[in-house]
C-alpha cells in the first residue's frame, strides 16, 4: 500500500446506517497493517535514538525548508544551519516530536484517536499548516536512511512512508 491509498475517512461519516452484519464504520476506516509492515516499523524503532533522530529531522526541516522557521520565532537563533544544529530548544523539540511518534507506533491500530488531542493542538493553538507534517515525515525518512544505510530496505522504507502518511492524516484530522 502506498501513500495514495491511505484513506481520507471523512466520506464515511456520510454513509447511511448499516445493518448489523455489515462492517462497522470503524472497521471500514481502520488502517490495515500487514505483519511485515508492523515488523518493519518496530524493528527500526527499536534501534532509533529518539533524541538524535528528532534533532536530525527537525534540523533538516528548518534548514531545507527555511520558511518553517516561522513557527520557531521564540527559539532564539535559527538563522543558519550551524545555529539550528546547535540550538538546544530545537534539539528538545525534535525529541518531543519523535517521542510522540512512539505513541503512534505503540497504537498502530488507532493512530487517529491517539493523535486527536495533538491534532486539535496543532490546529487551534499552534496554527501549523498540515503541509509541515508531510515535510517532517519526509525528512525523518531521509534521516533514517542516513542512519541505517542498506538496512533501510525498500520494503522497510515503504512501511515507514505509510506510517508517515497515517501520522500526517491523523494530525490533520481535527483541522476545520
Amino acid at each position: 500500500m502506498g501513500m495514495a491509498e491511505v484513506m481520507d475517512t471523512s466520506i464515511f461519516g456520510l454513509l447511511p446506517q448499516l445493518p448489523n452484519d455489515q462492517p462497522t464504520n470503524q472497521t471500514l476506516t481502520m488502517v490495515h497493517w500487514t505483519d511485515e509492515e508492523r515488523q518493519a516499523i518496530t524493528s527500526i524503532w527499536a534501534e532509533v535514538n529518539v533524541e538524535e533522530a528528532g534533532h536530525q529531522a527537525l534540523t533538516r526541516v528548518l534548514v531545507v525548508y527555511p520558511w518553517t522557521q516561522r513557527y520557531f520565532s521564540t527559539f532564539g537563533n535559527v538563522s543558519n544551519a550551524t545555529a539550528i544544529a546547535g540550538n538546544h530548544m530545537v534539539r528538545a523539540h525534535g525529541k518531543r516530536v519523535v517521542v510522540a511518534l512512539g505513541d503512534a507506533i505503540k497504537n498502530l491500530d488507532n493512530v487517529k484517536a491517539t493523535y486527536a488531542k495533538l491534532s486539535e493542538l496543532h490546529s487551534e493553538k499552534l496554527h501549523v499548516d498540515p503541509e509541515n507534517f508531510r515535510l517532517l515525515g519526509e525528512t525523518l525518512i531521509i534521516s533514517l536512511a542516513a542512519q541505517f544505510g542498506a538496512a533501510f530496505t525498500p520494503d522497510i522504507q515503504a512501511a515507514w512512508q505509510k506510517l508517515m502518511a497515517v501520522v500526517t492524516a491523523a494530525l490533520s484530522k481535527q483541522y476545520y
Binding site: R60, V64, A158
Partner: protein
C-alpha cells in the same frame, strides 16, 4: 528558488561521488519510487520486473542518473542541457509532473543512504533545490 553558488558547489561535490555509481543509485531510486508510490508503476506496465534488482529498472535508473549528471556538469544551463529531454517528456512520455517530486524524494533518500556523512542538511537543501529545478525544466514544455 534560485541556486546559490554554495548550492551549486554542494551539488557538484556530492554528485562527484554519486555519478560514479549511476546504475546502483538509479536502480535504488527508481525501484524505491515504484515500491513506495505504487501509482508510479502505471508508467512501467511494459516492464516484467519492477524491483530494484530488475535489469530493466537498473538500465533505466542509470539513464536517469546520467541525465542528472549532465545537468550537474552544466549547472548554469540546466534548461539548455535538458531541452531535448524536456521535449520528450512533454510530447512522448507525458509523465504527470507530480511524479517528479516522488522520484526526487527517493533520490534524496538514496543519497542519504549511500553518503550519510556527506549528505548534511546544507547538502540536502542544495540537492532538493537542484532536483526541483530539474523537475521544473522537464515539465517546462508540457503546456
Amino acid at each position: 528558488m534560485t541556486l546559490t553558488a554554495a548550492d551549486k558547489a554542494h551539488v557538484k561535490a556530492i554528485w562527484s561521488k554519486a555519478g560514479g555509481k549511476a546504475e546502483e543509485i538509479g536502480a535504488e531510486a527508481l525501484g524505491r519510487m515504484l515500491e513506495v508510490f505504487p501509482q508510479t508503476k502505471t508508467y512501467f506496465s511494459h516492464y516484467a520486473d519492477l524491483s530494484v534488482k530488475s535489469s530493466q529498472v537498473r538500465t533505466h535508473g542509470k539513464k536517469i542518473i546520467d541525465a542528472i549528471t549532465s545537468a550537474v556538469n552544466h549547472i548554469d544551463d540546466i534548461t539548455g542541457t535538458l531541452s531535448s529531454l524536456s521535449t520528450l517528456h512533454a510530447n512522448t512520455l507525458r509523465v504527470d509532473p507530480a511524479n517528479f517530486k516522488l522520484l526526487s524524494h527517493t533520490i534524496l533518500v538514496v543519497l542519504a543512504l549511500y553518503f550519510p556523512a556527506e549528505f548534511t542538511p546544507e547538502v540536502h537543501l542544495a540537492c532538493d533545490k537542484f532536483l526541483a529545478r530539474v523537475s521544473h525544466v522537464l515539465a517546462d514544455k508540457y503546456r
